[in-house]
């Protein structure tokens, strides 16, 4: 009973002290403000707001369109990168689309185009007549590997197709040079010499069909 009375008295004396002491009032207000601010900081420290969008494609089936047995022997590979651009002039300024295309042109022979007796054995000599060197596949651009470079204005799918054709023609014109065909021919001779020697033939003669 005495203790209860004592604590009541001490609270009363504290309140009366606060009421008369302005320094104590300021200190209490400051402590309360710090507690409130700390609480608000804790509640809001992880606050965030953002606008998001899905950048991934859906998972869709991949179909096999065709399967073919081929016999294409490649002797020269030309890897090309083509920076291709298109510009549209208008009254308010020029629009521009620039892309980097990647392609690999493969030069060699098609074994399905050989003659019936393209390999002949004559004693210790083997003779091979190879079909002419050509571009093994007309589809040589890996369009899905294309990299964007710059885009201003609005471009249609038709414009993108035209840009692909421009890159295709440029790559083909540059890579199908006579020099590259000669290189492929020389390498074909070296490689067939090596293979036929490995088969145990001492003398090998290689020539190309005209």
């Amino acid at each position: 009973m005495k203790n209860k009375n004592k604590s009541r008295l001490s609270i009363k004396s504290l309140i009366s002290n606060v009421a008369v002491n302005p320094l104590l009032q300021v200190a209490i207000i400051a402590i309360a403000a710090i507690i409130i601010l700390a609480g608000l900081y804790w509640l809001n420290k992880d606050n965030s707001i953002s606008i998001e969008e899905n950048k991934k494609i859906d998972i869709t089936p991949t179909m096999i369109k065709s399967i073919e047995n081929i016999g294409e022997w490649e002797f020269l590979q030309v890897n090309d990168e083509e920076l291709t651009d298109t510009t549209r002039h208008s009254f308010f300024g020029d629009d521009k689309l620039v892309r980097i295309y990647y392609g690999t042109l493969r030069l060699g022979i098609n074994l399905h185009e050989t003659n019936k007796d393209w390999i002949k054995v004559d004693h210790d000599t083997i003779k091979a007549i190879l079909p002419p060197i050509k571009l093994l596949d007309n589809e040589f651009i890996d369009e899905a590997r294309t990299k964007p470079f710059s885009e201003t204005g609005t471009w249609t799918d038709k414009d993108r197709k035209a840009l692909y054709n421009k890159a295709y023609n440029a790559m083909k014109a540059r890579c199908m040079a006579a020099d590259n065909i000669t290189k492929a021919k020389n390498n074909a001779t070296i490689q067939f010499n090596n293979i036929l020697h490995s088969m145990g033939f001492e003398y090998v003669k290689i020539r190309f069909d005209k």
């Binding site: 859906d58 869709t60 490649e74 990168e81 002039h89 692909y164 490995s198 145990g200």
Partner: protein
């Protein structure tokens, strides 16, 4: 006097304008003459024996979503009328080849009239891919911007990666080995061997590592 001054000013403006026009023409000419970046030529000896053509329709759908975290509570909601979708048809060619560049006597074993040729492991490569630009279908909400070139190419790249991931589900390796034999046996027959005396073999346990047999040029851009 006044007329003379006006005439001089008009002449000066005309002269300046003509100079500027020449400059613009030069800039326009420069735009269309961007040269190639790199051309890399490599000698090789690869026999391509199987060709698979793949077709895929890449689809993508996105909406703008507001994601917020307030007072330790996560919330998200879609912005109305913010939907865009696109379908991109795509074709890709994948081929399997045997690399003969290191072919030597070590690959050949002869006993009497019989010959056994051990061929190197077949490798798989994506040789081309093509987008059917005319077949692309898209639906863009009025409040959204059209698909940018960067976005389109990113979806096409992801479609390419999905095709590469589906390669192990095909029988391309088996077909490549069978067709390699179909190409090599007639050659050896022309050298004077009977068909029954010719054996074409590959190393054992090949099929377990199909992912390792995909040519690095096909997957190097997956990073």
């Amino acid at each position: 006097m006044k007329h003379k001054a006006t005439l001089i000013v008009i002449m000066a403006i005309t002269l300046l304008a003509s100079c500027n026009r020449n400059k613009t023409d030069e800039t326009a000419k420069q735009i269309d003459t961007i040269p190639e970046i790199v051309m890399h030529i490599q000698k090789c000896s690869r026999l391509y024996t199987a060709e698979y053509k793949f077709h895929k329709i890449i689809t993508h759908l996105d909406k703008k979503t507001i994601k917020a975290s307030l007072f330790k509570t996560d919330m998200s909601f879609d912005i109305p009328m913010s939907q865009r979708k696109i379908a991109i048809p795509m074709d890709a060619t994948v081929k399997a080849y045997i690399d003969f560049s290191n072919f030597s006597e070590k690959n050949i074993t002869k006993f009497g009239n019989k010959i056994e040729v051990t061929l190197p492991d077949p490798r798989i490569i994506m040789t081309s891919s093509r987008i059917d630009h005319e077949g692309i279908k898209k639906d863009v909400s009025l409040v959204r911007s059209n698909f940018s070139d960067e976005e389109l190419l990113s979806y096409e790249k992801q479609g390419r990666d999905q095709i590469i991931k589906s390669i192990p589900q095909t029988d391309i390796l088996e077909r490549a080995k069978m067709n390699a034999a179909n190409n090599i046996i007639p050659m050896i027959k022309l050298m004077g061997y009977d068909e029954k005396d010719i054996t074409i073999s590959f190393r054992k346990g090949l099929n377990n590592n199909i992912n390792n047999l995909i040519d690095k040029t096909t997957i190097e851009h997956e990073k």
